[in-house]
């Protein structure tokens, strides 16, 4: 059975042709799968009955539901999805792999934070996912199953690519998922309601801006390149100054919305010296800075800054003309129960046989 969930309208053209349908029927098919959220081929009443019968014989509409749900006192819900089969291509996983999605309800929006990889190879010091290493790239279906598979799916207003994995390290699959999310035949989200966050992988970033219109957030976390090195190994490969120069050029040619993600670490990146340097390096870039509370992870040498320090940091940025906000901490009470720790332990046991050191 070929799975259709995760295929773009273009990908569906050969499927339509194999059913003796005209190529334009691919968009009809896509509209049923995503926009109308069909559960069965029988619902696709604008397709000929014979085509529907053949679809039933050779194709599947399936997407996986989450295997675990954990709810925070503040309403945030963490979902754990099993990633296997077509969701994790090129990976013969003997044991299960997992990814997480977080549903964040607020008075004016209902956001889903999705994962793009199982694990991550960016190795950021502050990140729990990085401790798994990279286990695999999610397919478009594996990314979008998180959107489609939760009970709150139809009420979602915003999607952020800020979960497990570095989206630009899985660019081809991420771009396909963004196309499906924002197309009129797809889930129909406005580009303004979808944000992709990245550490700034330059060649992939260029392709992302060429091929997608969704919003972009840069994980910055220190304005000093030497200090950023010890937080984010990517700094040694794609220097922050080069990434910011590139983003300035992007904004010069189109008014793309770009924001900055800045996790505040006590005594590491929250001093007046850091504020001044952040203001300096962001000159010429129209942006908003999101100051983020750090959810400490076990064994980390990093601690989150206090509310007071974060508010001072925010005030200093605003005073210098840079819009800034402190992002409210959400779901902190379910961090430990979210499954990541158990996943990590499981994966460590599995990869002990495959390590090359």
């Amino acid at each position: 059975m070929q799975e259709l969930f995760g295929l773009t309208a273009q990908d569906l053209i050969p499927v339509a042709q194999s059913l003796s349908l005209k190529p334009f029927a691919a968009k009809q098919l896509a509209r049923w799968i995503y926009a109308r959220r069909a559960h069965t081929f029988d619902e696709m009443t604008d397709l000929p009955k014979e085509a529907r019968e053949r679809l039933k014989e050779g194709f599947s509409l399936g997407f996986e539901a989450p295997v675990k749900r954990t709810q925070s006192a503040d309403g945030t819900v963490k979902y754990l999805f099993q990633a296997s089969g077509s969701y994790l291509p090129n990976r013969d996983a003997v044991s299960p792999r997992f990814v997480e999605a977080a549903y964040i309800p607020e008075p004016d929006r209902r956001t889903l934070c999705v994962s793009t990889q199982v694990g991550c190879r960016m190795g950021c010091l502050f990140c729990m996912t990085g401790k798994q290493g990279l286990q695999g790239h999610l397919s478009p279906g594996g990314i979008l199953a998180q959107v489609r598979g939760i009970p709150e799916s139809e009420g979602l207003t915003n999607i952020v690519y800020m979960g497990m994995g570095e989206p630009l390290d899985n660019l081809e699959n991420v771009l396909k998922s963004l196309e499906i999310l924002t197309a009129d035949w797809g889930f129909g989200f406005s580009n303004q309601r979808v944000t992709l966050s990245s550490v700034g992988l330059l060649p992939a970033l260029e392709e992302f801006f060429r091929k997608s219109r969704v919003r972009f957030a840069l994980s910055l976390h220190s304005p000093f390149e030497d200090e950023r090195r010890s937080l984010m190994p990517v700094q040694n490969v794609h220097a922050l100054s080069q990434v910011l120069d590139f983003l300035r050029r992007v904004q010069a040619r189109d008014a793309r919305r770009i924001s900055i993600e800045y996790i505040c670490f006590e005594g590491v990146n929250d001093s007046p010296r850091h504020r001044r340097e952040l203001v300096r390096i962001l000159q010429g870039l129209k942006t908003r800075v999101n100051l983020i509370h750090y959810h400490a992870i076990p064994g980390s040498p990093l601690r989150g800054s206090s509310e007071k320090v974060m508010e001072e940091f925010q005030g200093a940025l605003v005073e210098k003309g840079i819009p800034a906000s402190v992002r409210r901490s959400r779901g902190e009470d379910i961090q430990a129960a979210c499954g990541l720790l158990s996943t990590k332990e499981l994966l460590k046991a599995q990869r002990a046989e495959t390590l090359d050191y």
């Binding site: 090129n90 991550c120 190879r121 960016m122 190795g123 010091l125 990085g130 401790k131 290493g133 990279l134 390290d169 992988l201 060649p203 390149e225 200090e227 090195r229 010890s230 937080l231 190994p233 990517v234 700094q235 040694n236 490969v237 794609h238 220097a239 064994g299 040498p301 990093l302 990869r351 390590l355 090359d356 050191y357």
Partner: protein, 222 residues
């Protein structure tokens, strides 16, 4: 010499199999500093990847060291490249620091490449190199590193039998097990290069042993 940017074709002068890795070199036509990377592709519009240069910045040849990634877009084809063939190279880029003075270099697999380049650049004084590999054949440029670094070159091998003649001077076990078993000077700088799993595991151990995170700099294979 000029910066090799944008990506341009170069003709391969040597292609060598080293254990499970491959080394390719070509006539150097750009300047770089030890620890930098180049972007490599098979043709102008094909998939490209970044690789650390293993050669020294004053050598006539520039070269990369790589292993074949299963299902990869580039390395399976790159492994069949022969002398005389063309590949496309861009860069150099990156700024993996080559600090002078005492410090510890830690690598797994082909992550040894930037440290070999630094050693060839004369930057190994006061350094100790720890290299982890699964098999004894994967200690690339072994004789050269033993000559240049002497007792400061330590190898850890997880797949080696106790009676193997290749096992002389090797710590039998994982790199992480060796690092776990030793104490580490918090005043030194620690430079790590290799897979994300190794970098994250080693960094965690060093931090747990009292090394400040600000003294640890890592480069991960992207």
């Amino acid at each position: 010499m000029t910066k090799a940017d944008p990506t341009h074709p170069v003709r391969i002068s040597s292609a060598e199999r080293l254990g499970s890795a491959f080394a390719l070199t070509w006539k150097r036509d750009f300047d770089f500093t030890a620890g930098q990377l180049v972007e490599v592709a098979l043709d102008e519009s094909g998939a490209s990847r970044l690789y650390s240069l293993f050669t020294g910045p004053r050598e006539d040849e520039a070269g990369i060291l790589f292993t074949v990634a299963e299902g990869g877009e580039l390395t399976p084809s790159l492994a069949s490249i022969a002398p005389g063939d063309l590949i496309w190279v861009g860069g150099p880029s990156g700024s993996f620091p080559a600090y002078s003075g005492p410090g510890i270099w830690i690598a797994n697999g082909t992550g040894v490449a930037p440290f070999l380049s630094m050693a060839r650049a004369g930057l190994s004084a006061g350094k100790k190199l720890l290299h982890g590999a699964r098999a004894p054949d994967d200690f690339y440029f072994l004789e050269e590193l033993e000559t240049v670094m002497g007792d400061s070159y330590l190898r850890c091998c997880s797949l080696i039998s106790a009676d193997s003649p290749a096992g002389k001077g090797i710590f039998r076990g994982r790199l992480t097990a060796f690092i776990e078993s030793e104490s580490w000077d918090p005043e030194l700088s620690y430079e790590l290069c290799g897979s994300a799993s190794m970098v994250v595991d080693v960094r965690d151990i060093l931090i747990a042993k009292g090394v400040p995170h600000s003294s640890i700099v890592s480069e991960v294979y992207f």
